[in-house]
Symmetry: C2
Subunit: 306 residues, 2 copies
């Protein structure tokens, strides 16, 4: 299958932006002129998605899986305020319908590559005895010194989230939009001191950010923007909507630290996506919640990787 | 498992060369100063290996699989005359013994990372219902304009291979040395016009090179360096040693085009690895063999991807 698929993919990717040397040789070449402007650093992220864990192939189809794979990686680039440049797709395909599945995954990747003008610059295909397992490495650029790190938050910075949280299992985990445009806008404004994307759940991801930044966080529980999908989950789960917003994984919204000096410059929304202040980074380590009953320790309820 | 594994892997990778920001954030950052010297291009390759296809986990163990994964990717960089800079490892682990397998794969990758002074700069781990499936993306650099492409061969150039060919299934496919040092030496000498690594088999890879270079190739069959492992395979396979050398995949030797004007400068060996001229690129397209019986068409017998 490999040679005909590579020829088809090369053709299909031909109208996307190109790197110096794309699909078809042993490696791709990204010309120094694509990277060098304004002394850019190269930003790299990689993620794998597995049938049965991150998507159910028989339910969502190959194209939705490919789109999610691309969106997950682009979300990581957005969370560093990086601009995507090229992606590399590697497929481990089940024997049955390998060709159709490969084409479907590629189309899903292509959809977002076309939208965000990213090169599909290389990859690898394999047919094997296992279920579908797909991998993507995304490469971007960021002006040196301007990448948003998890470690950049300071006590006093506001905690801000994009969009609304919880219940993404009902569909958003497949259809979410990586927050590239929003990140580009906020990066240009220079109002963000630290960031990550919410992939494991607000609680876990906020905890990771405080650990990296050597501080703590105090969350205003009644300010957390809860999605309507979180409300829909409660009947089956028996948990509260807030619990879903704090604990559900795969929101793929951005979690931002915004210095006090910049908070008044922060818009209420960008490109139609609301920005909500949900608390403050504090000196005391750990996660804390503040509501009408006072300040209490907040267990990080996010999804814990097995 | 993920958090403790990441902490361990970060510690284990600490004595390798570092990129600006390695394991632990949403993405890695490669500083422009690592890339920019002498106007370098960034070189990227990605490969996945699957249990049951590229290795048998129950026979070879996780560390050998990890070493192979790294070696396969470094071989691609060598075939472009690129210098490796950083790698990104993504693991899809079976539920049983996930932690031990992850550590084993990492150790195999680390072995060659330490030998060739490459950063292990990021990755991803997942536990799933399928067998072990492992992925690596390697990033290197090459001075702009000096990468060896498949498309650079011209009629009249000599066809040269490193090492000896065939029978790698007996063990070399797990233990081979990526030809990085040899490639660095030949690149410095400026004697190579095109290259690829022999992964699908000499016949197929040579054909791919002629197609990319819009020429043909005439092979002196009695000059092909046949490995002793190819000799050992014949009893079971019923094929000739030459057939194994032409058709077996996963030799991971380099296949080079050397212009006539440079052929006298080519050493007989580099770092103990022999360089053997096995024919000439010609104007007439296709693969041709020349032996005492004359010139005949040569079927490309290499492994064909399913």
């Amino acid at each position: 299958m490999e040679h005909s698929f590579i020829a088809w993919a090369k053709q299909r990717a031909a109208r996307l932006p190109k790197v110096k040397l794309g699909i078809g040789d042993d490696c791709a070449l990204i010309g120094f002129e694509s990277i060098n402007s304004a002394e850019s650093d190269v930003v790299v992220t990689t993620d794998s998605l597995c049938d049965g864990t991150h998507f159910i192939l028989s339910e969502c189809g190959a194209q939705a899986a490919g789109r999610k794979l691309m969106a997950v990686n682009l979300s990581d680039l957005a969370s560093m305020a990086a601009k995507p440049l090229a992606v590399f797709l590697s497929l481990c395909l089940p024997k049955e319908n390998a060709g159709d599945i490969a084409a479907g995954v590629f189309e899903g990747v292509h959809e977002l590559a076309a939208k965000y003008q990213v090169s599909i610059a290389g990859g690898d295909t394999n047919v094997w005895k296992g279920p579908l397992c797909i991998h993507l490495t995304a490469i971007g650029t960021v002006s040196s010194g301007t990448a948003w790190l998890r470690s950049g938050a300071s006590a006093g910075d506001a905690i801000v989230v994009t969009g609304s949280l919880g219940g993404s299992i009902l569909g958003k985990h497949l259809t979410f939009e990586p927050r590239l445009q929003l990140a580009e806008e906020l990066s240009r404004m220079g109002v963000v001191s630290a960031a990550t994307d919410i992939s494991d759940g607000l609680g876990i991801d906020l905890l990771n950010m405080t650990v990296a930044s050597k501080c703590g966080a105090e969350v205003l529980l009644d300010q957390i923007p809860i999605s309507s999908d979180a409300e829909k989950c409660i009947k089956e789960s028996g948990r509260s909507p807030l619990d879903h917003a704090l604990g559900d994984g795969e929101d793929f919204e951005l979690l931002l630290a915004v210095p006090q000096s910049q908070i008044d410059r922060l818009p209420l929304e960008i490109c139609g996506v609301p920005l909500t202040r949900i608390g403050t980074f504090v000196n005391r380590t750990g996660l804390w919640s503040r509501d009408k009953r006072g300040v209490r320790q907040l267990p990080p309820r996010g999804y814990v990787h097995s």
